[in-house]
Amino acid sequence: MISCKHVSKTFENNGQKNEVLKDISLEVAENEFVVILGPGQCGKTTLVNIMAGLDHETAGSVTVNGKQVDGPAPERGVVYQKTALFPWLTVEGNVGFGPKMAGLPKKERKEKAKHYIDLVGLSGFEKSYPIKLSGGMRQRVGIARAYCNNPSVLLMDEPFGHLDAQTRYLMQEEVERIWSQDKRTVVFITNNIEEALYLADRIILLSNCPTTVRNEFKIDLPRPRDYISPEFLKLREEISKHVETTE
């Protein structure tokens, strides 16, 4: 469970103030898949970093599972916009990194990593280095690495922003499948309405900078969803109206 209360963030550079987040309040229920939909450069990564504990809000508070967030913790897993895999570690080494830090013996670590490598569909690539993988495969590793640390909360920051359209659809279906098999509380960031509609239990729409919560949409379509069903297209139409008015 995640709760942001009146979260604001202002960056200061050489006396110049840049108000990025302004009074953001939102709740994410346990095992709920929430998609935060926001325009480019509106502070999405900043919000994720604050929820993760990698950055501090200038006002307000963030709690996860009832505890105040005041630094990184393995109960919160992050999947990054630019993958952030460790290039000197193999797929297996990346996925097993969290358990290794926790002191899990090598054999159990390997088994655990194997389980999540299989889950994201990368069997056979255990010994490959990230540099040899395609963009989509790297994001699969990023997802497996986050999952393997067994976090109660997953924060995914535009994980598919850099993928081509075809791979992006495929990865959306994969995330849906993985989440359905192994449910977590998810905050998924995107600027793509279709992606949001395909994945979300609930969509939170952000405004332009300084960013506030603009709107919320509960999405009750049955899963897995169909990108071209009339209901899907209707919702897409409706939400895009709201997105346009934020410009």
Partner: protein, 262 residues
């Protein structure tokens, strides 16, 4: 991909051989047809001399033993430079204040060639082995330190953040992120340092020594023996090339993650 890689490798070898043979031909032609022959022996005379001195002594030792003597000095001095330089550079890269204090000193030392240390080294340590180790060490250490420093200070902070999110403590971040992330840059410093120390040993031996590759050149000069000088120079070039390739091989093994298409 793999096939292409092997092709370009054989290509490199072919070109390498071509350029060597070309050099020999040009040298031989120049000696045969120009007045260069008055000051320069033919390449085959020099190569013959090298072959001969594999078994015949020059000043009490055969050529390989002279080279071995130089190599031993390099290894002692270079090893010292590594065990002092790598940790010092990494520490500088990790601590902001440490860097602020130490870095200007090394930036100032960097342009001073190792050879400029020879007079001081002789005054401090005499003309024995110690002063040679010292000269080699200072010649190599500056680039080793500055590169290790650069490697450790340029670690991608997103990766550090990712490791912290996965539960890594500061000591684990140092061990599992900072160190491996710095390895390629550390090797760049080791490479430069090795060639500096190989140059330094030759210079040190040319000034004071009774064995070594540098000594061969100087005694050649004293006795007016051009063949011996050239033989010494060629051996130095070959051994330097060999050392650099050896280090590159080790680097390949350690940094395969950093090489596209392997």
């Amino acid at each position: 991909m793999k096939k292409k890689f092997q092709n370009s490798k054989t290509e490199t070898v072919v070109y390498f051989i071509c350029s060597l043979v070309g050099l020999l031909i040009v040298w031989q032609l120049a000696v045969s047809f120009t007045s260069l022959q008055k000051v320069m022996p033919s390449p085959f005379v020099v190569l013959g001399f090298i072959g001969q001195s594999l078994t015949q002594k020059i000043g009490g030792k055969i050529l390989p033993l002279h080279i071995l003597a130089s190599l031993k000095r390099v290894f002692v001095g270079y090893f010292l430079a590594c065990i002092i330089g790598i940790p010092l550079g990494i520490l500088m890269g990790c601590s902001k204040t440490g860097k602020a204090i130490v870095k200007p000193i090394f930036e100032l030392l960097r342009p001073i060639p190792g050879l400029a240390w020879i007079p001081l080294a002789i005054l401090w340590f005499g003309i024995g082995e110690t002063s040679k180790y010292f000269i080699i060490c200072v010649s190599a250490i500056v680039s080793i330190i500055l590169n290790a420093y650069a490697g450790a200070s340029q670690v991608d902070q997103t990766l550090v953040g990712a490791a912290r999110m996965l539960g890594a403590k500061p000591a684990q971040i140092f061990l599992y992120i900072t160190l491996p992330a710095s390895v390629p840059q550390i090797f760049a410093g080791l490479q430069v340092g090795l060639s500096s120390s190989w140059m330094a040993v030759i210079a040190a031996e040319m000034i004071r020594a009774n064995e070594g590759a540098g000594w061969i050149i100087t005694t050649g000069m004293e006795s007016g023996n051009t063949v011996q000088i050239l033989a010494g120079m060629i051996s130095i070039g070959l051994v330097g090339l060999l050392l650099a390739s050896l280090l590159r091989l080790i680097e390949r093994g350690l940094c395969s993650w950093n090489i596209q298409g392997r």
